[in-house]
Symmetry: C3
């Protein structure tokens, strides 16, 4: 916990009001009374009105909108100030004070694997050489971590999962605030990744940790090699992501979504359950209707894509 006055001072914001201990940053909607938040995009003004956040980074001209009970941290660059504050709440990468890792019965841990202090590994797991399970990470029962797979600090992997070599769970989400000089200030990614049971993750795939809360891969999903999942995504149950798929931040897939090789989505989208995306599809708008099959970039129905290719082939022959 950090005193709110210290947070303000770190960010160079004059602090007025009653001080209180703060445990982290969150969205206006999800922040508790022990967290601070920020308003960057006016479309969240409704969330501001209802927020429980202890304090809110906000543009000076909007400061009067902060509800009673919450303190305005007013500044011309509130998003940038939130980024500066985020570093204060970054969890320790290494924690020598944590208790020794707990390793379940019948679990094999190779000599050169590292299970950090504070981590918990279930029963009957196979942990091959070079694996790293970070501080406070949790692994379920019967899970296989192939050589050099990495589970970052504070992440959770369920039971009966398979992580292939080089899979990296919990890399930082790609989030920055920008200064007027064009520099990028890191928004510390203080959330985690939660991988549910029966998930397989291919070689050298990466799943970014959430900026707040969790990036979530639900039960039974199968992920091929070299796939990238951005921060705060939710991947529905029993989905299939083929090699080189890229999913941008905060996109939500329903259950049984199939994404072909090299297909990708923009961020902040919803993709309905049972959607099939052909190889190399590029999704830039949410898909609301379940069960459709799509192709192309920009995305269209798969039949339309085939028809369009026919039209182009005829243009070529003219």
């Amino acid at each position: 916990m950090i005193a709110l006055s210290d947070v303000a001072r770190t960010c160079g914001i004059a602090f007025e009001g009653s001080d209180r201990p703060i445990k982290g940053i969150n969205t206006l909607k999800d922040a508790s009374e022990e967290e601070i938040s920020f308003l960057d995009n006016p479309k969240y003004l409704g969330d501001l009105k209802a927020t429980k956040a202890a304090a809110v980074f906000i543009a000076t001209k909007m400061a009067a909108e902060v509800p009673a009970g919450s303190i305005a941290l007013a500044d011309d660059e509130p998003y940038l100030k939130m980024a500066l504050a985020s570093k204060l709440f970054a969890p320790a990468l290494v924690d020598d004070t944590a208790p020794e890792a707990v390793i379940g019965e019948g679990t094999y841990v190779a000599e050169t694997a590292t299970i950090a202090r504070g981590a918990v590994v279930g029963k009957g797991c196979t942990i091959l050489p070079g694996v790293y399970v970070g501080s406070r990470a949790v692994i379920g029962d019967g899970t296989i971590l192939h050589a050099n797979a990495v589970v970052y600090h504070d992440c959770r992997v369920g039971s009966n999962c398979i992580l292939h070599s080089g899979a990296a769970i919990g890399t930082d989400g790609f989030g920055f605030a920008h200064t007027k000089l064009g520099e990028h200030v890191k928004i510390y990614q203080n959330g985690n990744v939660v991988v549910e049971d029966d998930v397989e993750i291919g070689g050298n795939s990466t799943i970014d940790r959430a900026v707040f809360a969790s990036t979530l891969v639900k039960r039974g999903t199968k992920i091929d090699n070299l796939v990238h999942i951005g921060h705060n995504c939710i991947i529905g149950e029993h989905s299939i992501l083929v090699a080189h798929v890229g999913i941008s931040g905060s996109t939500v897939l329903g259950r049984n979504v199939v994404m072909g090789g090299q297909s990708a989505t923009a961020g902040h989208l919803e993709i309905a359950p049972f959607t099939t995306l052909a190889a190399r599809s590029g999704v830039t708008k949410s898909i609301k209707e379940p069960g459709g099959t799509y192709a192309g970039f920009p995305l269209m129905g798969h039949r339309d894509w085939l028809k369009l290719q026919g039209i182009l082939a005829r243009l070529l022959k003219r």
Copy 2:
């Protein structure tokens, strides 16, 4: 070896006939008398007639087609049952009973590299920190494994090869059977990867092991970073695969095929020798004619692609 009756019991199939020891699963065509097989796609009915397999997972209504000498393992979901059986034949990831690894003369092995029991490494190799060579894997002479490269169990890498950091040879092929509830049941990938001599494999590239038999990368092929090769592919001699190439399962490249950056192929295709695929090409049909140059997705001759771009540019100016 596992008794055929035990295989049937594991899959919940009533077993009739004379029992026998089984060593694995294979295609109808390649199965020996000590292996079992399956018929999923009716186009392999011809292979069924000629199979030597000890037993065949097959749809109940087709069971009568199984030839004399082979036993029908009849079920409504034969492919799913094969997937369940595949787990029985998965080779051990860790084998404490295997003899200590054999390391050739003049080979340097870094302290934090792991050469598993049962592995064999040739002469004059350089094995940098964090490398993992799995159980029963074989490495030729003069090969360099850069830091954190991984060669999974049972895979073979030839002489004078270079594997860059994070290259993962022998990750599981992406193969699943599907239940009526939309769950995916892993088909254990009990084959391996064979990399011949003089092959270079870039950083964080992945080559999936075969479901049966071998994924094969032939002599002299050069593979860039972040390339994915699916299970059971054959990559011809002296081919060139540029960064981010993706090759789906069971596709066969002839010799001296060049694939530009981010290009990709669908599965089960043949690409003729000396074919050149421009960057970002997407191949969905076999290429029979050697020596052609192609581009685009869907694929077309490179000249046609240039012409099509000219037509589109004119449409835009109208």
Copy 3:
């Protein structure tokens, strides 16, 4: 240093003239009097005239063009001979004679991380398990190397950088000479990678070392997961490269270039400062004008791309 006569002998070229010690290979333009060079492409004939190189691999029929003071290494396949010679100058991957690594004050090095002899690591760094810092590599102050990140020999990473798991800095550039039989002969990549301060590099991204001199990532640039940067590229300050971006060799980005997910460039291009490339853009020609926004493959202005998609949508509805 290797005697020039020995270099010639290794390549099977008859040597005439006064012998001298050679320390490496470089371009005609940059070679010093202790280096050798080569002329492969006639467009560099101007550079030949002004070269300081001790000797030049050159086609027999062009040998008379080599200036006085430089020795012609004449052959029918000069580029191939240069490739053969490059191996002679490859720096040692492991150097037991180098002094022990220097580790700065307050730097945490995990037990299973390896800092090779001859390397230098600054103050206040965090080096997690499985990391490899190669011979003669240099890491600045306050840099975080996440589990299993790799910095190859002779590379330099600045201060306050973050390298995520599996990031590989200094993999070999993808450069080969080709024989008449279609074999590929490795051009040893004897340059390095230089990453300046305040750079973040995502999980499993790869940055290839230069063939000569340095691949350079300038100050403040942020690189997402699974990005590939080819040899001899220069990435300008404060650039943003989103997941799955691929940049081919020798391409130069100005400052504050933004490349969207899965976008890519061909090699030997220049991309002007403040250029924005939409997701999946494919750049095949240099961009001279700063500040533009582009999309598509082939590349066009972003507005044109939107217009073209409108035209195609109308074609589809006809």
